[in-house]
Symmetry: C2
Subunit: 144 residues, 2 copies
């Protein structure tokens, strides 16, 4: 039984971020890969959409320049033949401030012949913003 | 071929929110259902975790008291035998301010014998906060 592409992708991505080794992830990216991390691009310039292997490699390198992954717990997961979705809780460090960040994300990934063709990620962005700026942002209560 | 529980759940949920008809969704909730919407509970008190049919019915009613769903587009979806995950883009109105809100969410759902046993939802919360308070929140740029 062949290992699901998600596990190879996950290892390669974390290796690229934590060890700055882009070789494994480069082999896994389809030339026309579509990539999006939905979140406040004003805060982290590596949020947003990218298209194509070169642009996605660049954005992964940028993530590695800014964050370190300490651990992640997969809370929910679905695996299809060529697809995967999961919800994860990450423990990260923002490198410039040496600040711990705890973050929940959800992602959807599509593979074709073992290569990543589509990746969409959503983050609990308000939580991320508060942890990153380091102070609570005052909110009016809308719903009672 | 039986219809996937996700479709029944989706119809029942939207009916509960938009028409205040809780009958369909009540039939679909397992007595011990676990429910979580991850986001700033300071802003919307219906964010957070709930457990059990009564608590989840109450929170769905609360969502209906505050929001109206205009449309939603399912951007990614995965269906398993008794599970489903999707990423959706919603057009909503916040009722008190009659304010349009556009929001991306991801959810993971588990069913058992046609009843919802687990539901976890993540929202692009910073985007939601800015749209709800109605002004941009200044952010320092962390990553360049």
């Amino acid at each position: 039984m062949t290992e699901h592409s998600l596990w190879r992708f996950s290892r390669a991505l974390h290796r690229a971020i934590n060890e700055r080794q882009l070789g494994d992830i480069e082999l896994m990216l389809d030339d026309e890969v579509e990539w999006a991390i939905y979140g406040p691009i004003d805060l982290f310039s590596f949020f947003g959409s990218r298209r194509g292997k070169a642009a996605v490699l660049e954005v992964i390198k940028q993530i590695g320049d800014n964050l370190r992954v300490h651990r992640f717990d997969r809370e929910s997961i679905m695996l299809g033949t060529d697809s995967a979705a999961s919800m994860l809780r990450y423990s990260l460090t923002a490198l410039d401030a040496d600040k711990p960040i705890s973050l929940r994300i959800a992602h959807f990934a599509q593979f074709k012949a073992g290569k990543l063709t589509s990746f969409r990620m959503l983050v609990d962005s308000f939580d991320l913003v508060e942890q990153t700026v380091g102070y609570p942002i005052h909110l009016p209560r809308i719903a009672v």
